[in-house]
Point group: C2
Chain length 300, copies 2
């Protein structure tokens, strides 16, 4: 994504010095104008606004309109964890997903993230698009010429492709579930919910009538408003422990919950570094030189 | 459900005269002890508490523990609509759903409902379990001896049944999506989210460690905190209109959104009545006589 961000900043698509402003509010809820700022700038700002409100009122929520790419939804939601809160974030992604039985996209690759604090277990951090799969999975399969699974995409007419096969030249994304039988109407409804909470609460349109770039939505729940935080985190440990110790079905090694593999990967990477393709490192050296940005390898 | 409710009241499983109490709160958020009251008693009470908080703070949220069957999640969420608010409700259903690759249930038939006001179009009212399908669909198929779809249930060992077939004697429910390829990890994560927001914020355990009956969670969003309500409702009309006018794929008559078919059915039933099986009417006459409850047909 960094490449795309650098290009977008260069082309003026992202405002590098945004002046975000609250344009409407009540004590625990507000709409923020992102002023074209990047999601990784506006997201933390908005999430902190939600957290500050939740400290006082028990819950806080922000919708941010006129934004750009979100970065990663889980990054923003997980900010709540350090404050003993449950974080929720969502954003309007690319307008590529068909409603059930429809031939034109009516909502985007809209991810929802939920982050919940634990004590000693890995925190529960869910982050997934309400489309069948992330859009870049299809783009990658197309580039590599490999088949994609049944229920991931439609053909050019919008007809769901319900068996494994190559990615056609023109295609649309299907909702989570793929077919109605497997819950595509649920994926589609959750995708529309994201359009509403982000685009319509932000008064910048939804679906095919979106205006003004991406919109985001945030909630911070103060656990202490509902129950004792330490007890809650211990209860989360008990629950996450039960899930990860579910006896697996034959042929499967183990059961995981959202956030567990990522947590394990983070520990590994903090110890041994992040594996990058040499081509990425070359690009990074090149672009930082070109833009006059100095940097150093901290493990040198 | 009415039969089950009557039996449960008779057996002392539901408290007919609950004394619900707020046991912890901050201005916009609280935990309510349902005192064993029925969901159709506690749900409206809790949703109204959330709505009252949202009038002042912009958003309000309640978790209700120690409850019983929810009734219909959409009924509670839709209460927000008359107040110019977006309603969300969820509850912990029967503990029957497997995590991906797991052989033991780790969350319930947990429905989430979202209700959003419109102006002239049918309101958006979503209500669906985070399991593959509603649990009673499988029970019904088993009773009638008909096949169920691929990805709805597992066998007795927890192995997903990924082709159409009869319901075995012992089975478990799969998450929304059915298989991991079609998003079962998303359905499972949303199902666990419901366990957390209801059971753990209510301090009565989650998944296999649930205690004290069903728990519920409610949110009311005051649209006016974010944007002008009339503009929002008009924007919702534009969006819902776009969705229902999506050109359908070949062989399909039309595209619908959550709440549209139900809205049409409600208009029809208010005009022509609700079709009941004679056996249901007989039961109703019998049980009301037995319990000494008087009633009359309002259209007589």
């Amino acid at each position: 994504m960094l490449r795309r961000y650098v290009e977008d900043f260069g082309a003026g698509g992202i405002n590098p010095t945004p002046n975000p402003k609250i344009i409407r509010e009540m004590p625990a809820a507000a709409t923020l104008d992102s002023d074209g700022g990047h999601g990784l700038v506006i997201g933390p700002l908005a999430m902190n606004m939600a957290i500050e409100r939740a400290k006082i009122y028990g819950i806080g929520t922000i919708t941010a309109n006129n934004g750009r790419h979100f970065g990663a939804a889980a990054y923003h939601a997980a900010m709540a964890i350090d404050h003993g809160m449950i974080g929720v974030s969502m954003t309007t992604g690319g307008m590529q997903v068909l409603p059930v039985d429809g031939s034109k996209p009516m909502f985007g690759l809209n991810p929802i993230s939920v982050a919940v604090p634990t004590n000693s277990e890995a925190p529960f951090i869910f982050d997934a698009s309400m489309s069948s799969v992330a859009g870049n999975k299809i783009a990658l399969a197309k580039r590599l010429g490999v088949d994609v699974a049944a229920g991931w995409i439609s053909d050019a007419d919008g007809v769901p492709i319900l068996k494994e096969g190559p990615v056609p030249d023109k295609y649309f994304m299907l909702p989570t579930g793929g077919s109605r039988e497997n819950g595509a109407h649920k994926g589609a409804s959750m995708g529309m919910w994201v359009e509403i909470m982000c685009g319509l609460l932000g008064a910048t349109g939804a679906g095919p009538n979106r205006e003004g770039g991406a919109s985001h939505h945030f909630i911070a729940y103060n656990v202490e408003a509902f129950t004792d935080l330490e007890n809650f985190k211990n209860d989360m440990d008990i629950y996450m422990n039960a899930v990860k110790n579910t006896p697996p079905i034959p042929g499967k090694e183990r059961v995981v919950y959202a956030g567990l593999p990522e947590h394990e990967e983070e520990i590994e990477r903090r110890k041994n570094g992040i594996p990058y393709h040499p081509e990425v490192i070359d690009w990074f050296r090149g672009i930082t030189g070109e833009l006059g940005i100095s940097w150093r390898l901290t493990n040198d």
